[in-house]
Amino acid sequence: MSPSGTFLTELQSIFFGFGYSTRVFGSDDEVNQLVRDPSYGLDADHLRICFGVTVVSGSPNYAYKLRYNISGLIGSNEGPSTEDVSTVDAFFQAATLYRPIKSGMLVINNILHNLIVRAATGDNTKLLIPVLSPMKQEAFNDDPLYAFLGNSLDMLCLLPLLIVYLRQISAMLTEKEVAVYRLRKRCARR
């Protein structure tokens, strides 16, 4: 956490209530330094970090970043491959919707948004109730139209060059032809 946040103490007490021990860092660099330390996770001074909240700016333009320890989870957040099979209109998938909730990401988001609203309005009774709803988006379809067009249009780029190319051959051979003709003429005179 960055100590510049105005709701830092409240956030610490909330996380403490969830059973997390918290630690305040001066900047992101200090977190990076700790994570890269050879004794990270090995002794009491270098405890492993589960997640972090970086308060980028306070009132009036609140901004924050969430940092997660994703060790061992790399690749688990990848979506389905769209390269081999064209995707179809999928049915509602509860697992996809519940994944961010179960991971705790939306919980922290919600806590932070509530704290920001309370800090901004000065009213401690304000409450934001999140509503989750699935959003439908168009299925991805591989459209090779531009590839087909490109393959056909390169002919239009190449064929005009044929004129210059043939003209060069013609000019060079005509010059050669004239030279050969003159040479033969000279030889015939002699």
């Binding site: 060059l161 044929l162 210059v164 190319y165 043939l166 051959i169 013609s170 060079m172 051979l173 032809e177």
Partner: protein, 100 residues
Amino acid sequence: MKIMGMTGWSYYLTWLMRYLIVYVVIHAISAFILFKAFKVIAYEVVLITFLLFDLVLVVQAFFVQIFFTKAKIGIIVGLLFFCVQFVVNFVVRNSDNPTY
């Protein structure tokens, strides 16, 4: 011209320069049109790609004219040579590889 003392280098260099100027003019314009149509690609990249192909064409013309003394036959063979290469490229082309 060799009798007059002209070396092979200067002979071919003059032809190269003459037709390279023609190609540069054509492709400076066409590269500009493509650059305006496809805004992601840099103008220099399109121009250099075209110019490299132009160099190949000039050298190919040098190659074809060596075997002939008659302009008409040379033109026909040059045209066929160009078309055969185009057909080979068309047959071998792999649409999965866009850089081909």
